[in-house]
Symmetry: C3
Subunit: 161 residues, 3 copies
């Protein structure tokens, strides 16, 4: 089977810089005509959270509610993996990105979706962290590791970021 037409990326990290790298690769591959699948797990799920508070039907545990409160909602408040400077690093990085004419993370996410990149939210991580489907952005697929492995078997580049 020719697998060069497909790429998968596990986005485990919720760091701004690592998410940027993941989306630049995803967009690049999609622009070259490849099918791209992104599998969001653990901290990476934070990127998929709606920025506003959502009332969930099912209750969360106290710890889940606490994790949910302390972790960033969406792409707007992610920190840097290095030189975060107590939160000042990411805004500075965004400024140099903008000055350099680079796409913002928000634009990269939008572009990835427009190009048909498939977003899969890891259901096991959702169960653990207490994230409900209605708290995450629209248009996602929800699946577990078996789905990821099925996608990866059809791809030739499989990255863990």
């Amino acid at each position: 089977m020719d697998t060069t037409g497909k790429k998968t990326i596990i986005l485990f990290s919720g760091d701004f810089d690592r998410a940027m790298a993941a989306f630049i690769i995803a967009n690049g591959a999609a622009a070259m005509g490849d099918e791209v699948v992104m599998f969001f797990t653990f901290w990476g799920l934070n990127l998929l959270r709606k920025p506003e508070k959502v009332e969930t039907k099912d209750k969360k545990s106290t710890l889940q509610a606490m994790f949910g409160k302390m972790m960033p909602k969406g792409t707007g408040h992610l920190g840097l993996s290095k030189m975060n400077f107590a939160g000042a690093g990411a805004p500075m990085m965004k400024k140099v990105m903008k000055d350099a004419g680079a796409m913002s993370l928000e634009d990269l996410v939008d572009s990835a979706r427009e190009q048909g990149v498939k977003f899969i939210a890891c259901t096991l991580s959702m169960d653990i962290l207490g994230f409900k489907e209605e708290e995450l952005i629209d248009g996602l697929e929800f699946a577990g590791v078996a789905a990821y492995l099925g996608e990866a078997d059809e791809a030739n580049v499989n990255l863990f970021i």
Copy 2:
């Protein structure tokens, strides 16, 4: 050569959350019938350490003894890569995992071994960090990067975690 029946994972990280991700993937692939090889290097070696203190035949250097003392022994005391809260993060994560009915890291390691996942301990990292074979859990293979590359050449998914 059809390589879809084999996966390799380099576990470089000794973080609880990254180790969880690695073992969930390894178990998932093994459950689907794939051969899985995990190559433990650098901080990832900590997962393979016996929890008790082991007298080693060969002496360690002062620095090696110090690294050995400061790093976690086995899967029980790993920290989170994010939101570690001075060590409180991992117990909280374990609690939400348990509440969600997810397998513990210990169970995932046991399950991986029962499913025949091959564990290779990186001998170069062992030499550097001063880890002796008798300090690590039983049933490991000991090898270097050449062995890893040989395994990876037979696999279609090769992740660095």
Copy 3:
């Protein structure tokens, strides 16, 4: 196409320990006769910086100059991803490496180049961080994500470190 003769590594991290892992794999693969391509992006670019201050033709923004000053120049001053001990961790790690007879990071970089490993500096990251070609070591290629993907399509092991 047989892709087992080629490997690619994205070095995103600028941590000493992760860079060590990347170069050990790169050297191992090259020694086994594989073509190896390393793509340096984000913090990984720091490894390619000349250790001395270089006057650049094009001006940098204030933020770029600040990032440039705060980030390590070359392989000599990288920190550890864990147990960095305010900078003392890396020298201690280098000491145990030397005692164990392991190659230094500098030797690994030199060896990689002598073995023909291709170094590509990510031009988008350079634009963002304000790194100019004359500030980086000689013998690099300069390219973007499309070049990386082209290389990866010819390889069977593609790691993100």
